[in-house]
Protein backbone atom coordinates (compact mmCIF):
# COMPACT_ATOMS: atom_id res chain seq x y z
CA UNK A 1 0.00 0.00 0.00
CA UNK A 2 2.79 2.43 0.81
CA UNK A 3 4.40 1.43 -2.49
CA UNK A 4 1.25 2.51 -4.36
CA UNK A 5 1.29 5.86 -2.59
CA UNK A 6 4.87 6.40 -3.61
CA UNK A 7 3.96 5.80 -7.27
CA UNK A 8 1.13 8.32 -7.07
CA UNK A 9 3.41 10.91 -5.54
CA UNK A 10 6.11 10.47 -8.13
CA UNK A 11 3.61 10.80 -10.98
CA UNK A 12 2.33 14.10 -9.56
CA UNK A 13 5.88 15.32 -9.35
CA UNK A 14 6.46 14.44 -13.00
CA UNK A 15 3.32 16.34 -14.00
CA UNK A 16 4.67 19.42 -12.26
CA UNK A 17 8.11 19.30 -13.83
CA UNK A 18 6.80 19.09 -17.40
CA UNK A 19 9.03 20.23 -20.19
CA UNK A 20 9.43 23.97 -20.37
CA UNK A 21 10.68 25.37 -23.60
CA UNK A 22 13.27 28.09 -23.82
CA UNK A 23 12.19 29.25 -27.27
CA UNK A 24 9.20 28.55 -29.48
CA UNK A 25 8.90 29.57 -33.12
CA UNK A 26 6.28 29.26 -35.85
CA UNK A 27 7.67 29.55 -39.35
CA UNK A 28 5.64 30.06 -42.52
CA UNK A 29 6.04 27.85 -45.54
CA UNK A 30 8.06 30.61 -47.21
CA UNK A 31 10.51 30.26 -44.30
CA UNK A 32 9.99 33.53 -42.50
CA UNK A 33 8.90 33.62 -38.86
CA UNK A 34 5.22 34.12 -38.11
CA UNK A 35 5.84 34.00 -34.41
CA UNK A 36 8.99 33.70 -32.35
CA UNK A 37 9.22 33.93 -28.61
CA UNK A 38 12.12 33.21 -26.32
CA UNK A 39 12.88 33.50 -22.67
CA UNK A 40 13.68 37.19 -22.34
CA UNK A 41 16.60 36.91 -19.96
CA UNK A 42 18.73 35.24 -22.58
CA UNK A 43 20.23 36.60 -25.76
CA UNK A 44 17.24 36.61 -28.13
CA UNK A 45 19.35 36.93 -31.26
CA UNK A 46 21.04 33.65 -30.47
CA UNK A 47 17.65 31.93 -30.51
CA UNK A 48 16.68 33.56 -33.79
CA UNK A 49 19.91 32.21 -35.24
CA UNK A 50 19.37 28.72 -33.78
CA UNK A 51 15.86 28.56 -35.21
CA UNK A 52 17.09 29.80 -38.57
CA UNK A 53 19.79 27.15 -38.82
CA UNK A 54 17.36 24.45 -37.74
CA UNK A 55 15.29 25.22 -40.85
CA UNK A 56 17.97 23.55 -42.98
CA UNK A 57 17.60 20.36 -40.99
CA UNK A 58 13.81 20.56 -41.32
CA UNK A 59 14.08 20.88 -45.10
CA UNK A 60 16.40 17.92 -45.22
CA UNK A 61 14.02 15.80 -43.18
CA UNK A 62 11.02 16.72 -45.27
CA UNK A 63 12.72 15.92 -48.54
CA UNK A 64 14.34 12.71 -47.34
CA UNK A 65 11.02 11.31 -46.18
CA UNK A 66 9.74 11.98 -49.68
CA UNK A 67 12.33 9.66 -51.13
CA UNK A 68 11.56 6.88 -48.67
CA UNK A 69 8.83 4.39 -49.47
CA UNK A 70 5.21 5.15 -48.69
CA UNK A 71 5.46 4.80 -44.93
CA UNK A 72 3.30 6.62 -42.49
CA UNK A 73 4.68 10.10 -42.93
CA UNK A 74 4.53 11.80 -39.62
CA UNK A 75 4.18 15.44 -38.93
CA UNK A 76 6.47 15.23 -35.90
CA UNK A 77 10.11 15.42 -36.98
CA UNK A 78 11.77 14.69 -33.68
CA UNK A 79 15.12 15.96 -32.47
CA UNK A 80 16.61 18.12 -35.17
CA UNK A 81 20.02 18.64 -33.67
CA UNK A 82 21.56 19.03 -30.25
CA UNK A 83 23.96 21.84 -29.40
CA UNK A 84 25.98 21.98 -26.15
CA UNK A 85 23.27 23.93 -24.34
CA UNK A 86 20.09 23.17 -26.19
CA UNK A 87 18.07 20.57 -28.01
CA UNK A 88 15.97 21.62 -30.97
CA UNK A 89 12.79 19.78 -32.00
CA UNK A 90 10.77 20.23 -35.16
CA UNK A 91 7.26 19.61 -36.52
CA UNK A 92 5.77 20.32 -39.92
CA UNK A 93 2.06 20.71 -40.67
CA UNK A 94 0.43 19.67 -43.93
CA UNK A 95 0.34 23.29 -44.93
CA UNK A 96 4.14 23.35 -44.60
CA UNK A 97 4.14 25.59 -41.55
CA UNK A 98 6.97 24.62 -39.24
CA UNK A 99 7.04 24.65 -35.49
CA UNK A 100 10.37 24.69 -33.70
CA UNK A 101 10.82 24.16 -29.97
CA UNK A 102 14.15 24.77 -28.26
CA UNK A 103 14.61 23.10 -24.91
CA UNK A 104 17.40 23.39 -22.37
CA UNK A 105 19.77 20.41 -22.51
CA UNK A 106 20.03 20.26 -18.75
CA UNK A 107 16.41 19.12 -18.65
CA UNK A 108 17.23 15.43 -18.43
CA UNK A 109 13.73 14.01 -18.00
CA UNK A 110 12.95 14.60 -21.67
CA UNK A 111 10.22 12.36 -22.90
CA UNK A 112 9.18 12.11 -26.52
CA UNK A 113 5.46 12.13 -25.67
CA UNK A 114 5.80 15.40 -23.80
CA UNK A 115 7.44 17.10 -26.74
CA UNK A 116 4.82 15.59 -29.03
CA UNK A 117 2.01 16.88 -26.84
CA UNK A 118 3.55 20.36 -26.86
CA UNK A 119 3.56 20.27 -30.64
CA UNK A 120 -0.04 19.04 -30.65
CA UNK A 121 -1.08 21.98 -28.50
CA UNK A 122 0.82 24.37 -30.78
CA UNK A 123 -0.84 22.85 -33.84
CA UNK A 124 -4.31 23.08 -32.31
CA UNK A 125 -3.82 26.73 -31.36
CA UNK A 126 -2.35 27.50 -34.76
CA UNK A 127 -5.38 25.94 -36.46
CA UNK A 128 -7.61 28.16 -34.35
CA UNK A 129 -5.59 31.21 -35.41
CA UNK A 130 -5.92 30.16 -39.07
CA UNK A 131 -9.69 29.88 -38.75
CA UNK A 132 -9.99 33.33 -37.19
CA UNK A 133 -11.51 35.52 -39.91
CA UNK A 134 -9.53 38.52 -38.72
CA UNK A 135 -6.24 36.77 -39.28
CA UNK A 136 -4.72 37.11 -42.74
CA UNK A 137 -2.56 34.08 -43.55
CA UNK A 138 1.07 35.18 -43.83
CA UNK A 139 0.80 37.89 -41.20
CA UNK A 140 2.59 37.66 -37.87
CA UNK A 141 0.48 35.97 -35.25
CA UNK A 142 -0.91 38.45 -32.76
CA UNK A 143 -3.57 36.36 -31.07
CA UNK A 144 -3.69 36.70 -27.30
CA UNK A 145 -4.99 33.16 -26.94
CA UNK A 146 -1.98 31.85 -28.84
CA UNK A 147 0.33 33.98 -26.67
CA UNK A 148 -1.09 32.60 -23.45
CA UNK A 149 -0.84 29.01 -24.69
CA UNK A 150 2.82 29.58 -25.54
CA UNK A 151 3.53 31.28 -22.19
CA UNK A 152 2.21 28.23 -20.43
CA UNK A 153 4.83 26.12 -22.21
CA UNK A 154 7.81 28.39 -21.69
CA UNK A 155 10.19 28.56 -18.80
CA UNK A 156 8.85 31.17 -16.42
CA UNK A 157 11.27 34.08 -16.24
CA UNK A 158 11.96 34.67 -12.57
Amino acid sequence: MTCLCFLCVSRDYDELSSIMAVCIAVIAKENYPLYIRSVPTQNELKFHYTVHTSLDVVEEKISSVGKALADQRELYLGLLYPTEDYKVYGYVTNSKVKFVIVVDSSNTSLRDNEIRSMFRKLHNSFTDVMCNPFYIPGDPIQSKAFDSMVSAMMVQAC
Binding site: I62, L75, K96
Partner: protein
Protein backbone atom coordinates in the same frame (compact mmCIF):
# COMPACT_ATOMS: atom_id res chain seq x y z
CA UNK B 1 -21.11 20.54 -39.11
CA UNK B 2 -24.18 20.34 -36.93
CA UNK B 3 -26.98 21.01 -39.34
CA UNK B 4 -26.06 20.68 -43.00
CA UNK B 5 -28.82 22.88 -44.39
CA UNK B 6 -27.49 25.83 -42.37
CA UNK B 7 -24.54 26.25 -44.70
CA UNK B 8 -26.70 25.81 -47.81
CA UNK B 9 -29.08 28.57 -46.72
CA UNK B 10 -26.22 30.82 -45.64
CA UNK B 11 -24.54 30.32 -49.00
CA UNK B 12 -27.70 31.22 -50.92
CA UNK B 13 -28.06 34.35 -48.84
CA UNK B 14 -24.40 35.32 -49.31
CA UNK B 15 -24.79 35.06 -53.10
CA UNK B 16 -27.97 37.10 -53.19
CA UNK B 17 -26.51 39.68 -50.78
CA UNK B 18 -23.38 40.19 -52.87
CA UNK B 19 -25.44 40.68 -56.02
CA UNK B 20 -27.92 43.03 -54.33
CA UNK B 21 -25.05 45.20 -53.03
CA UNK B 22 -23.57 45.55 -56.50
CA UNK B 23 -26.94 46.22 -58.10
CA UNK B 24 -27.53 49.15 -55.77
CA UNK B 25 -24.29 50.67 -57.01
CA UNK B 26 -25.70 50.50 -60.56
CA UNK B 27 -22.59 49.17 -62.26
CA UNK B 28 -24.13 46.68 -64.66
CA UNK B 29 -21.27 45.75 -66.96
CA UNK B 30 -18.69 44.88 -64.41
CA UNK B 31 -21.27 43.58 -61.98
CA UNK B 32 -20.98 39.93 -62.86
CA UNK B 33 -17.19 39.88 -62.84
CA UNK B 34 -16.68 41.58 -59.49
CA UNK B 35 -19.42 39.63 -57.71
CA UNK B 36 -17.98 36.35 -58.84
CA UNK B 37 -14.45 37.38 -57.78
CA UNK B 38 -15.75 38.51 -54.40
CA UNK B 39 -17.45 35.18 -53.81
CA UNK B 40 -14.37 33.33 -55.00
CA UNK B 41 -12.12 35.26 -52.63
CA UNK B 42 -14.43 34.52 -49.73
CA UNK B 43 -14.27 30.85 -50.60
CA UNK B 44 -10.50 31.07 -50.84
CA UNK B 45 -10.04 32.31 -47.28
CA UNK B 46 -12.52 29.79 -45.92
CA UNK B 47 -10.79 26.99 -47.83
CA UNK B 48 -7.44 27.91 -46.29
CA UNK B 49 -8.80 27.76 -42.76
CA UNK B 50 -10.81 24.60 -43.33
CA UNK B 51 -7.95 22.63 -44.81
CA UNK B 52 -5.78 23.54 -41.84
CA UNK B 53 -8.39 22.05 -39.56
CA UNK B 54 -9.01 18.93 -41.64
CA UNK B 55 -5.35 18.05 -42.16
CA UNK B 56 -4.43 18.50 -38.52
CA UNK B 57 -4.25 14.78 -37.86
CA UNK B 58 -3.51 13.33 -41.26
CA UNK B 59 0.00 12.22 -42.23
CA UNK B 60 1.77 14.29 -44.87
CA UNK B 61 0.88 13.79 -48.51
CA UNK B 62 3.15 11.91 -50.86
CA UNK B 63 2.49 13.87 -54.04
CA UNK B 64 0.05 16.02 -55.96
CA UNK B 65 -2.27 13.14 -56.79
CA UNK B 66 -2.45 12.22 -53.12
CA UNK B 67 -3.47 15.78 -52.29
CA UNK B 68 -6.20 15.73 -54.98
CA UNK B 69 -7.51 12.41 -53.72
CA UNK B 70 -7.70 13.78 -50.20
CA UNK B 71 -9.60 16.83 -51.46
CA UNK B 72 -12.00 14.64 -53.43
CA UNK B 73 -12.71 12.29 -50.58
CA UNK B 74 -12.25 13.67 -47.07
CA UNK B 75 -12.44 17.39 -47.76
CA UNK B 76 -15.53 17.14 -49.99
CA UNK B 77 -17.22 14.72 -47.61
CA UNK B 78 -16.69 16.99 -44.63
CA UNK B 79 -18.20 19.97 -46.39
CA UNK B 80 -20.77 18.56 -48.81
CA UNK B 81 -21.41 15.19 -47.15
CA UNK B 82 -20.47 13.26 -50.25
CA UNK B 83 -17.36 12.47 -52.24
CA UNK B 84 -16.44 13.69 -55.66
CA UNK B 85 -17.87 11.13 -58.07
CA UNK B 86 -15.13 11.16 -60.66
CA UNK B 87 -11.57 12.44 -60.76
CA UNK B 88 -9.74 12.60 -64.07
CA UNK B 89 -6.25 13.85 -64.72
CA UNK B 90 -3.82 14.19 -67.57
CA UNK B 91 -0.96 13.67 -65.11
CA UNK B 92 0.40 17.03 -66.16
CA UNK B 93 -1.28 19.23 -63.61
CA UNK B 94 -4.83 19.32 -64.91
CA UNK B 95 -7.57 17.64 -62.91
CA UNK B 96 -11.28 17.44 -63.53
CA UNK B 97 -13.45 16.79 -60.52
CA UNK B 98 -16.94 15.69 -61.38
CA UNK B 99 -19.78 15.87 -58.92
CA UNK B 100 -23.02 14.38 -60.23
CA UNK B 101 -25.20 15.88 -57.56
CA UNK B 102 -23.53 19.02 -56.30
CA UNK B 103 -25.11 19.91 -52.97
CA UNK B 104 -25.30 23.64 -53.60
CA UNK B 105 -27.01 23.16 -56.98
CA UNK B 106 -29.65 20.57 -56.08
CA UNK B 107 -32.13 23.14 -54.70
CA UNK B 108 -31.96 25.09 -57.96
CA UNK B 109 -33.10 22.59 -60.54
CA UNK B 110 -32.47 19.14 -61.99
CA UNK B 111 -32.33 19.90 -65.68
CA UNK B 112 -31.57 22.87 -67.84
CA UNK B 113 -33.65 25.40 -65.94
CA UNK B 114 -31.69 28.24 -64.29
CA UNK B 115 -28.49 27.16 -66.04
CA UNK B 116 -27.37 30.80 -66.48
CA UNK B 117 -27.62 31.39 -62.73
CA UNK B 118 -25.46 28.41 -61.85
CA UNK B 119 -22.02 30.13 -62.06
CA UNK B 120 -22.98 32.47 -59.20
CA UNK B 121 -23.51 29.49 -56.96
CA UNK B 122 -20.29 27.83 -57.95
CA UNK B 123 -17.94 30.75 -57.37
CA UNK B 124 -17.65 30.22 -53.63
CA UNK B 125 -16.90 26.51 -54.07
CA UNK B 126 -14.25 27.24 -56.69
CA UNK B 127 -12.61 29.55 -54.20
CA UNK B 128 -12.93 26.90 -51.52
CA UNK B 129 -11.05 24.42 -53.68
CA UNK B 130 -8.41 26.97 -54.63
CA UNK B 131 -7.87 28.01 -51.00
CA UNK B 132 -7.56 24.45 -49.82
CA UNK B 133 -5.04 23.56 -52.53
CA UNK B 134 -3.10 26.77 -52.00
CA UNK B 135 -2.63 26.05 -48.33
CA UNK B 136 -1.42 22.56 -49.17
CA UNK B 137 1.20 24.05 -51.45
CA UNK B 138 -0.51 23.79 -54.84
CA UNK B 139 -1.19 27.11 -56.53
CA UNK B 140 -3.94 26.56 -59.07
CA UNK B 141 -6.67 28.03 -61.21
CA UNK B 142 -10.09 26.55 -60.56
CA UNK B 143 -13.03 26.92 -62.92
CA UNK B 144 -16.40 25.24 -62.92
CA UNK B 145 -18.80 24.30 -65.66
CA UNK B 146 -22.34 23.03 -65.63
CA UNK B 147 -24.18 21.50 -68.56
CA UNK B 148 -26.93 19.70 -66.74
CA UNK B 149 -27.93 20.58 -63.21
CA UNK B 150 -27.15 19.45 -60.56
CA UNK B 151 -24.05 17.82 -62.00
CA UNK B 152 -20.99 20.01 -62.36
CA UNK B 153 -17.32 19.76 -63.17
CA UNK B 154 -14.52 21.61 -61.46
CA UNK B 155 -11.39 21.99 -63.51
CA UNK B 156 -8.19 22.48 -61.56
CA UNK B 157 -5.04 23.52 -63.37
CA UNK B 158 -2.05 23.41 -61.06
CA UNK B 159 0.47 26.15 -61.74
CA UNK B 160 4.00 24.94 -62.03
CA UNK B 161 6.31 27.60 -60.63
Amino acid sequence: MADDSLFEFLHMEIVSHVYKEHESRGDNDKERGTCVSLLELMGFRVGQGLIERFTKDTPSFKDELDVMKFVCKDFWTNIFRKQIDNLRTNHQGTYVLQDNRFTLLTPLSSGKQYLEEAPKYLAFSCGLLRGALSNLGLESVVTAEVSLMPACKFQVVVQKI
